[in-house]
């Protein structure tokens, strides 16, 4: 077994891990990144389309370009990068955490670290998660897997495709598969509104004349060895109405039915998980319920924009540095989602500095008002021409805008949409 002592271990070398590691290294910490794949960059590498970095770099970058903006400085910065290495355990030590990784080249590597940053990203929900009836033929795969096949491995997974769910990856793949010569027969979305961004509906579906069935479900997958067709039915009062249904012949079904933060490792390390996000519960410092363990990026909550992941990762890194330097804990108050808000991250607020939150609406609404209240008091209101669940909202509360609660009282900051 190989041992290594560092100030910080970053679990995952994708967009969150790269930004967090660079930020901590710039503050003078010794940092190790442990990455499961044989290269850095994470999911960005298979996202060959553009639209990344408009906020961060004021440029329209592709995923690989965005990733290399961080990989190059990481390689030049003296950060230790362990590739082909999987973290299997995080446990408590007298002065921090022990992180155990299995490395293809080095065998068992055991890190002693003062802080750990969780940046493992998320996984796709699959057929089991959405329980589609029917046979179990070849040709049913998640949209992200199809993206990897087409963009990294150079394989085309089928010819006639039906996409279940209208998440962004599914929409991006609808266009991508059309461009490599497949026919995308339909995108079928259970909800009455698209779960991907409006922009992707336009440039991926409308541009290629791909039909979008809102308020419809795939009720059955048919086929013996290979997918032969799917049965689709509209929803009536929340139930599938098979009498009004129809059959779409196809050889491939892509599932784009949501992402789940990947937290097996966090759970095993005793990190409490927030039901609203399926990511760790975090305080205003983005520190989890386990002292010294921080979290950022899609492992914390699923983002739509990598630029926001980068921003969050840097903030997380700054707080991890402050923790390591022994900065006293600030006074915090709990933050909770109110009406029409699915979740708010982080789950606490430190009134004596600026606080940035990411929140996800539960509703599609025009002329919406975002309200932040503490007890009966209004802290901030902001108007939006349009909100929808697939578009995350960034909310900044400047230092001094949140009043300190009276000593001895428990106040909650509530964020609601009306």
């Amino acid at each position: 077994m190989i041992r290594r002592q560092v100030d910080a271990v970053v679990v995952g070398g994708g967009s969150a891990g790269l930004a967090a590691a660079l930020q901590m290294r710039a503050a003078g910490l010794s940092v190790a990144i442990v990455e499961r794949d044989p290269f850095l960059g994470g999911i960005l590498l298979q996202c060959i389309h553009s639209g990344f970095g408009l906020r961060e770099f004021k440029e329209d970058l592709t995923g690989p370009e965005y990733a290399e903006r961080f990989i190059r400085p990481v390689l030049a910065s003296g950060i230790d990068v362990f590739l082909d290495a999987t973290v299997v355990d995080i446990s408590e030590e007298p002065h921090g955490r022990a992180v155990t990784a299995l490395s293809r080249g080095l065998g068992v590597v055991r890190f002693s670290a003062s802080v750990v940053v969780l940046a493992m990203g998320c996984r796709e929900r699959n057929r089991g998660n959405v329980a589609i009836a029917g046979t179990r033929p070849a040709g049913v795969l998640t949209a992200g897997l199809a993206q990897r096949l087409v963009n990294i491995e150079g394989c085309i997974p089928g010819r006639n495709v039906v996409i279940v769910g209208s998440g962004d990856i599914g929409l991006i793949m609808a266009r991508r598969l059309t461009l490599v010569g497949c026919t995308v027969r339909a995108v079928v979305e259970i909800q009455s509104y698209p779960s991907g961004s409006a922009r992707n509906i336009v440039q991926c579906l409308n541009d290629n004349s791909i039909p979008l069935y809102l308020g419809h479900v795939v009720t059955r997958i048919e086929g013996r060895n290979r997918v032969e067709a799917v049965q689709v039915a509209p929803l009536e009062d929340g139930n599938a109405a098979p009498d009004a249904g129809f059959r779409i012949p196809c050889d491939t079904v892509l599932l784009s039915v949501g992402l789940i933060p990947e937290n097996e490792l966090s759970r095993a390390a005793g990190v409490p998980i927030n039901d609203g996000t399926a990511g760790p519960w975090v305080d205003a410092d983005l520190m989890t319920g386990a002292p010294g363990i921080f979290a950022c990026g899609n492992v914390l909550h699923v983002h739509d924009l990598v630029d926001f992941v980068t921003e969050e990762a840097r903030r997380c890194a700054d707080r991890a540095v402050a923790f390591l330097q022994g900065e006293p804990k600030r006074r915090m108050l709990a933050v909770s989602p109110g009406a029409n808000v699915r979740y708010v991250v982080p789950n606490a607020c430190a009134p004596d500095r600026q606080n940035v939150f990411f929140l996800r609406p539960l509703v599609v609404k025009n002329d919406a008002v975002l309200e932040v209240r503490m007890g009966g008091r209004e802290v901030k209101t902001r108007r939006f021409a349009h909100v929808q669940p697939s578009e995350m909202i960034r909310l900044a509360l400047e230092q001094g805008s949140v009043p300190f609660p009276d000593e001895g009282t428990t106040a909650v900051l509530e964020v609601a949409i009306r």
């Binding site: 290594r4 639209g51 592709t62 003296g78 990068v81 461009l179 409006a198 578009e391």
Partner: protein
Amino acid sequence: MTKQSPAGTGDRELVCIACPMACRLTVVQAGQVVTVTGNRCPTGETYGREEILAPRRMVTAVVPTDSLDFPCAPVRTDRPIQRGLVQRLLHELYASTISLPVRQGQVLMDDFDGARVVFTRTLPPDDVPPVRLAGEPSAPITT
């Protein structure tokens, strides 16, 4: 997401695809004069006008390589090209095979409808420095 109206005149509701803000645009056309409202930045105005007069799209794709480890290399146009030319560009890209190594930003095609086609990923990726093991100090910060 477009409301139909006779070519050359009238209002169209568009969703701007220039960035993830996805501004809802109203585009009013009277001949060659196009007025865009609802945009929150100048790019939106350009998008709205071009979308009515001559739509353009950024193209990204992968080209086959001669490598077994990295069988395809991602590429992009450095600016949007006419939508009607997208298929022709794709056919040209798919018909080529390139040799690794390539670096991000390296030019594959100099001029396609005024755009350059460049590689977006360095392949094979740059090597990571050898890791230091027990007891060895971290390298000094160079930035």
